[in-house]
Structure formats: C-alpha cells, structure tokens
C-alpha cells in the first residue's frame, strides 16, 4: 500500500534555476526511503514541500489517493496528523522555554480528538509522557527538565518521541544525525530502526551520508542539482547499471 506519492514536483527560488526539478517518488507503508545528495541538491526543499512549509511551483503530492492541494480542512488535518517530522538541529527544534513534557505533548494535544492510538495509551499526561520517554530510551526524570539541560543526542531523542507520539504513517527525517557526535549518531540510527519495527510507520530519511541511509533504508533515491538521478533497492547498490554519480557516492564510503 502506498502511503504517499510525489508527482513531478517542481520548486524554484531563483527564476531560471530549479531547486527541485520534476521529481516523482512514492513511499510504501512501513518502508523507509533514503534520499541522498550533497548540500544544495534540493533534498531539503523536497521535504519542505512535503511538509507544507514551502509551496511547490508545480506537481502534486497525493496522500490517501487525494492530492493535498485540493484537500479540504478535514483532509488537511488528517494529512498533518499522519506526516510528522524530525529536523537536523535538535536544539532549534525544541522551544527553550518549555519543559520537555510540554514540547512532547504538543502534537497529541493538537490532534487528540481524531486519534486512535494502537501502541501508546493515553490515561494521563504524566503517564503518556513517561511512555514516550521510555520508548526512546530516555530516563523518566527528563520530563520536567528544560532542553538546555539535555545533550544533543538526548534532545534528538525527544524530538523523535514527539514525532512518534501520535503514531503517524510517515516521518520525514531531515538529516536527523548530522549535527550529533559519532556515538550519538549510531545510537539514533539504531533507535530509528527499532522504532520502525515496533510502530510500523514509513520514513523518508534525508541525508548526505549514504552509509547511514544504507543502514536504515530499504530503498535509496539519489538527487543531484535538483534532479532525481537514481532510485534503487538496497540490495541493488552494487549493480552495474547504477548511475555514475551513485557510484561516485558509493566510492566515498
């Protein structure tokens, strides 16, 4: 079953130069798709269009067989509830003035009326926050802390907990490990992998690190200068018909 389809997406910031040029992709239920490329290749722009942060110039995003451009209020709300995100910089992703518990509860409080959670159970705010912290392997005592009291890796775990708190169908991971130190990077990748096992959502994992993408994803897409060059299954990475640029990337790692 397809969770989301992107058809011929185009986006440009400067006239004459397309940041994303005619990209089509689809993500299946429970699948993680890796999107690899250098900085400036358009992968983050694509994510921003998907999340509705940027308006696309042309193309369509289809969710639940419905282009979200034509979605009514209710459908749009349903889309937002099912597409969550984790950004690169965990410090910027958490409001420094809010306790961890309040940041964690943000999506739940927003969507609580149309949620039917399977994995988590909401009995009280306190209990819900504890379930979330436990799921991302953080000590329960962190609920009442402020973000600056946590390490980078811990903060990123909090933003992951926030994204999974409403059991979305898709999480857009925009370079979630890029600003962490090596040991935290590995741990976060492992956590993301095991969360997918238990919760069964799909990932769009955006990264410049082909090896990290390889570790987490079943399918890999390669972008360069706004264009989608290559999409392949993980097992096919060493096939001879890979794009030259993909081979160049493989050679680096």
């Amino acid at each position: 079953m397809t969770v989301i389809e992107i058809h011929n997406l185009k986006k440009s910031y400067n006239p004459g130069k397309l940041a994303v040029n005619d990209v089509s992709l689809s993500i299946q239920k429970g699948e993680s798709l890796g999107l690899v490329g250098e900085s400036g290749c358009g992968k983050s722009t694509l994510a921003h269009c998907l999340l509705g942060v940027e308006k696309m110039d042309a193309g369509s995003i289809v969710y639940n067989e419905e282009p979200i451009a034509h979605a009514n209020r209710k459908q749009l709300r349903n889309y937002r509830r099912n597409v969550q995100t984790v950004f690169q910089n965990p410090t910027a992703s958490l409001n420094p003035k809010l306790k961890i518990r309040d940041s964690l509860l943000d999506p739940y409080l927003q969507f609580k009326d149309d949620l039917q959670l399977k994995h988590f159970h909401f009995t009280s705010k306190q209990d819900f926050v504890q379930q979330l912290l436990e799921t991302v392997e953080l000590p329960k005592g962190l609920a009442d802390r402020y973000p600056h009291e946590l390490s980078g890796g811990q903060k990123q775990r909090v933003t992951i907990a926030r994204a999974i708190s409403i059991e979305p169908k898709l999480i857009v991971l925009d370079e979630p490990t890029a600003s962490l130190d090596v040991l935290s990077q590995g741990a976060i990748l492992e956590l993301l992998g095991s969360l997918q096992q238990t919760l069964g959502m799909s990932y769009l994992f955006i990264s410049h690190d082909l090896a990290a993408v390889y570790q987490l994803c079943q399918r890999i897409a390669v972008m360069k200068d706004g264009e989608l060059l290559d999409v392949f299954r993980k097992e096919e990475i060493y096939d001879s018909n890979r794009h030259d640029y993909t081979k160049e990337l493989i050679d680096i790692f």
């Binding site: 937002r80 809010l98 940041s103």
Partner: protein
C-alpha cells in the same frame, strides 16, 4: 569559584536584603495610611506651619501647616498608582501590537515601524513635556503622554523577540502540526515574551515614577494641592534654605521606590532566564 563570581553572589545577596527591607518599610507605611491616618492631607493649619516633628506630626508640617507624613504616604499611593496605570496601559497596547507586527509582517509591520521610529527619534521626557504642554497641565494628560511614549518600547521588544523566534525550527514544526497562530502565540511565543516584558516593565516603573515626579515638579503633572511627590518637591522649593527636610522626604521616597523597582527588575531578569543554572 572565582573572586568575581563570589562578589557577584554577595551583591545579589545584598540586593535581596535591600529590597526586602525597603519593601517592609513601604508595606508598614501603607498599612499605616489605611489604619491610622489621622490627618486630612489637605487640612491647613497656618498657625502651625513649618513645625518641627512632634508626636502629632512625626515629620512636621509644611508651609501651609499640613502634615508631611500624611502627604508623603498618600503620595506613595498616588505616584505608584499613576505609574502602574500608565505601565499597564503601555503593556496592554504595546504587546499585542508587537505580536501582530512580528507575526503578520507586511504593511502592518512597516506602518508600525515608521510610527515607532518617529517616537524613538525624541527622548521620552521631551515628548512627554511637549504633549502635556499641548494638552495642558494635569495628571490625566501627563499619563496619556507617558503611555503614548512608552508603548512603543514594548511593541518593539515583543516584535523583535517574535521575529527571532518564529524563524526557529520549533515554530516551523508547530506550524507543520497545524497549530493555529493564536496557539503558537500563547504556547510558544508568550513564554519568551513574558519574562522580557516583566523585566522591562519593572525598570520602566522606576522611570515613569521619575517622569511623573519630574514633570509634576516643573508644574506639568499633578497640580497642587495633590500630594504627589514631585509636586511636593515643587511646593517646598521656596523653603529649601530654612526647611530643607521638606524636600528631603519626598526626594528620599522617590529614590527608595525607584531603587526597589530596579532591583526587582534585575531579580526578575535572573528568574526568567531558565539557562542561568548552566555553567560552561
């Protein structure tokens, strides 16, 4: 711990003591005005003018034989009350304006910024003098002038806070989640604003007291026989050489209240800075 940090800690401690002592005196005085006020602040007794302290008049009497302590204490209520009113009005007008300008941008923001620039081109005191000069002397006009001058500060501060914060990822994520502008304001932006507003307000509180008093002193604010401290200073001017204490009492009162306001501002700033505990 370095010597510097140690001495800073001591200063902090001293400040807390100072603020407590002054507040205690003030509270006692206020309680006194409500419980034991024996004299009418405007009752003159020309036969007993410029008297030295006695049991009946603990701080003596002024040039019209009025009880100085009574006037001083009523003045506290007036001066503090007026500046609180002016402050509240400035905050109530300034904060929403700043929020809207920062969040909406566009022409609203540009219009607002030009107005703010206009006000900022002149010092507060000058605008207040001009306005109350134009509208005529009187405490109501003076308060109006002060609000007109002060709201800009709040609006600007709130706007700049909003502008820095809305660009951050956590606001983007809140938007992706479909949180309404109002919820983002209330839940995510207000905690950033509230501390700053309180700190600015407590510092402004002192400034407004000074402004009211100084404008009353030059005859543009509270008019005699209102026992406002600035007006009292003004009235006692001719008797300065023979009875300097008539100027000293209201002067000291102004200094004490302004000092408390500033210390309170410092304290609030520390309190609202959640990062203060972290040492690098």
């Amino acid at each position: 711990m370095s010597v510097l940090a140690l001495s800073q800690k001591r200063i902090k401690k001293a400040k807390v003591w100072l603020i407590s002592i002054i507040l205690l005196i003030v509270l006692a005085a206020v309680a006194y005005t409500f419980l034991y006020l024996k004299h009418d602040a405007n009752m003159t007794d020309v036969g007993n003018r410029l008297a030295s302290p006695t049991q009946a008049h603990p701080l003596g009497t002024d040039h019209l034989g009025r009880d100085v302590l009574t006037r001083l204490l009523l003045g506290f209520r007036l001066t503090v009350g007026y500046s609180l009113i002016a402050l509240a009005a400035a905050v109530i007008i300034g904060v929403p304006f700043g929020l809207i300008a920062g969040l909406r941008g566009g022409w609203i923001d540009r219009l607002f910024m030009r107005i703010a620039d206009g006000f900022l081109a002149f010092p507060d005191t000058v605008i207040a003098i001009v306005l109350s000069g134009l509208l005529g002397p009187g405490i109501g006009n003076l308060l109006f002038a002060i609000v007109l001058v002060k709201w800009v500060n709040y609006a600007r501060m709130v706007r700049s806070t909003v502008l820095t914060e809305v660009r951050k990822d956590y606001v983007t994520i809140a938007r992706i989640n479909g949180l309404s502008t109002f919820t983002i304001m209330r839940k995510h932006l207000l905690p950033h604003i509230i501390g700053n507003v309180l700190v600015l307000a407590s510092l402004d509180f002192g400034k407004i007291i000074l402004l009211i008093s100084s404008l009353s002193y030059i005859g543009l604010g509270a008019q005699p026989p209102t026992p406002e401290w600035g007006a009292m200073l003004n009235e006692s001017r001719p008797y300065f050489q023979a009875n300097p204490e008539m100027m000293v009492y209201p002067g000291l009162a102004i200094v004490a209240v302004v000092l408390v306001a500033n210390v309170l501002g410092d304290y609030l700033r520390d309190k609202f800075d959640v990062k203060k505990e972290v040492q690098p």
